[in-house]
Subunit: 456 residues, 2 copies
């Protein structure tokens, strides 16, 4: 279908799309809250019915948590297979008192639909589904289309991994699409070309078996608060480079083309400061602020706690100290090896007299890198160029979407990450919204793109 035909269909069905999208949003499918387990189930069932009505063979696959929706519609012989990934679960809506209208009562104001999940990820998913519907009804979808929509993206757990493992054959695809990303701040059409991997751990340092008097024992008893500060400080050298031996081993540098595209619009330090309150001065020397989140791994301290934190002074040597560490990884870094390297480094640097325990650790997944020259990306670039006058933006995200670390490899396909989210959508915050304009962009992109995967 042409852009004009898709546009015409969108406008003719706009009210219905909005109505159905609102139905989808009305399910409070808050995955982290056990009280909403039934809502998650009903939401998954609603999606399954919706896809079945479009001619998909649909399965609701149970997991240790919420069910996964897996749907398939065979295409024409010789046409590629596309796997579309999304999630139907949403973040909790609290604090409720900050919402202008109730989070599960979708409300349109000035062409933005307000609801929890309006963008992340129900809105972006539903825009794609309506494009698929349009192609199916017009008999213009040659590709075999597989749709995988899970209900545990916001839980930090991945019960879906077991499903992926069992359903490897059913998930086989040439292209793995997701619409869970956003555009650069100018709003230019954006291809996400990379995501960092993530690991995390909690380390506890213990010393005295009770808080000691810092006068009686100061300079004699080893102090876990001082010890944890030393341990945390040992993670980086004075220049900001990670000092954990082996951390940078195998790190893949981006190509010249990737680096140039990533830095096409340099980070405006003042704009950054106005959004965050800080200048972009963290991390390694010798790399641009964009390079540092796009192509460089990082270790951050997410928390450090020991001893007294109230008003005034309390002269103790605390008995215990804790740090929470996470690392963002780039291609070439194996998460399990990096986790091990950090733990070994901590163990080697335990100050005399104190004991270290790793009380919690986890691997989100390795980094994701999308190939600039893959046929799917080239096609998406073509389609996005037709939809906008703005030059395309290429984004190597610092954040992680752990499932996307695994899915393309399991499916054996090329990743293609294009989404239309923006900062003002307030995802994970009160008054989340998604504009009809963004929704339509997602619809047009998906429709044009999927329509081009023809049988040969």
């Amino acid at each position: 279908m042409t852009k004009i035909e898709l546009d015409k269909t969108f406008e003719a069905n706009r009210d219905r799309y909005l109505r159905e999208w609102s139905e989808f949003l009305a399910f409070p499918s808050v995955s982290t809250d056990p009280d909403h387990a039934a809502d998650c189930n009903q939401c998954a069932q609603w999606l399954a019915d919706h896809l079945a009505a479009l001619g998909f063979a649909v399965r609701l696959i149970p997991t240790a948590s919420h069910p996964v929706v897996l749907a398939e519609r065979p295409g024409k012989p010789g046409a590629p297979t596309v796997l579309f990934y999304g999630h139907y679960d949403v973040q909790p809506a609290d604090p409720l008192n900050l919402w202008l209208t109730p989070p599960f009562n979708p409300t349109l104001r000035q062409d933005r639909l307000y609801a929890r999940g309006a963008q992340d990820n129900k809105g972006q998913v539903f825009a794609a589904l309506k494009a698929i519907e349009t192609l199916v009804r017009a008999n213009q979808l040659d590709a075999t289309l597989k749709i995988l929509i899970e209900g545990d993206e916001e839980t930090g757990q991945m019960p879906i991994l077991k499903v992926l493992d069992r359903e490897k054959a059913a998930l086989k695809a040439d292209i793995v699409m997701a619409a869970d990303t956003g555009t650069v701040s100018s709003g230019a059409p954006t291809l996400t070309m990379g995501l960092r991997g993530i690991i995390h751990l909690t380390a506890v340092l213990t010393g005295p078996d009770h808080d000691l008097h810092s006068g009686v024992h100061g300079g004699r008893a080893p102090n876990p608060a001082l010890g944890i500060a030393r341990l945390a400080a040992s993670l980086h050298d004075a220049s900001g480079r990670v000092a954990v031996p082996g951390f940078y081993d195998g790190v893949q540098e981006p190509s010249q083309a990737e680096r140039a595209l990533a830095n096409a619009e340099p980070l405006d330090a003042n704009r950054y400061a106005s959004l965050t309150g800080v200048q972009p001065l963290g991390g390694e020397q010798g790399y641009s602020p964009i390079d540092r989140t796009a192509f460089r791994p990082a270790i951050d301290l997410n928390g450090i706690h020991s001893g007294y934190g109230g008003t005034g002074s309390k002269t103790i040597i605390p008995s215990r100290a804790e740090i929470k560490i996470s690392a963002r990884l780039v291609p070439g870094q194996q998460p399990a090896r990096i986790l091990e390297a950090i733990i070994s480094h901590l163990q080697r640097n335990v100050p005399a007299g104190l004991k270290l325990e790793i009380t919690e650790q986890g691997i989100g997944g390795p980094a994701v890198r999308v190939d600039l020259e893959s046929p799917a990306v080239l096609l998406a670039r073509q389609v996005l160029s037709e939809l906008s006058d703005q030059p395309l933006a290429f984004l190597w995200e610092g954040a992680s979407v752990p499932i996307l670390s695994y899915l393309p490899a399991i499916a054996g396909g090329q990743a293609l990450l294009v989404g239309f989210g923006s900062e003002e959508d307030n995802i994970h915050a009160p008054n989340e919204s998604y504009s009809l304009d963004q929704f339509k962009k997602g619809y047009l992109y998906t429709g044009l793109l999927l329509g081009r995967f023809e049988s040969r």
Copy 2:
């Protein structure tokens, strides 16, 4: 009076002493709790009446907090003037449920009196007062005796400093005695020869104006948690020596005699570990564990807090981090200069992009060092030798008693710090107690000592 006469008087009056001491303990003079302000007042009034009955001229001097009791009894011409310091306020009694008998209902069990303040400091003060009573009634007290008993020792505030300043003339003395210390663990008679000074501060490091996503911003935004760890770690070098420039300037080394006496009974590392849960491995290399608290200054971290501290992981770059620092000082270190040196050091080491604020700071006082060869100390050594077969112990305490940093200088006298507290007294804890045996030792020591200050 001789030791035998004092002993006889003690035994003859034992029951009355116990009764009066229990009366003194029954006042819940908890100085930090505004609800107990009236109790503090009544306790001070009771003390004043008690001293007046002994023939002292007594004043109850109001302060910004609880009143100070200042009493004086002129001695014979040519006899020295002795100032006795103590405090009538006590620590809070909670947790109440851990007391076997109510904290303000003094109870005798197996020759120990159980009550809040039984030792600290009401018990030690009252033993001295009963010795003074004995000497007065026997007309055996030649010295001019001044008694200063305050009600804010446990508050961490020093409203008494203004009183000292105004009453400088009235406080003039040759010897300043206090009975707020203890004996070494063997129970041998102990002269406390030093106390460390103390300063403290709270430093806050701010970065982003809200917690940032550590994926999106990791390696780009400066991280206050990492920054505070670096700052805290910068306080010491790798060997445990304080790395703040100027910190050790002017530190006075002990004499050979002092060092030898302090180390007469070396610290038993295993006993230390059984009491504290740690080996004595903190602080500076090259000094014995005893030297490190007796003669060396120290900086400790009393608290460090930033970011997430709950279960599992939360991938944020925290917006704020805080440390609480205290330093213990030795003779030769000026508290105000050390405080300034630490603050300057922190300011010079603020990581790029973060802001440092010192939100709270305080000076307890400088170190106290008692002269081994002062006539008062020589006399006390003589008296203590007569009271015990055990060799005397000399203790340079790591802890601080801020008022004693000022009082000897203001009075213009020599400090003399002898007390009979022991670890099993559980001061500041539930079931505080003081044995009749300890009480009697304090009585005999004070009686013998004060009786020796004759007119010449």
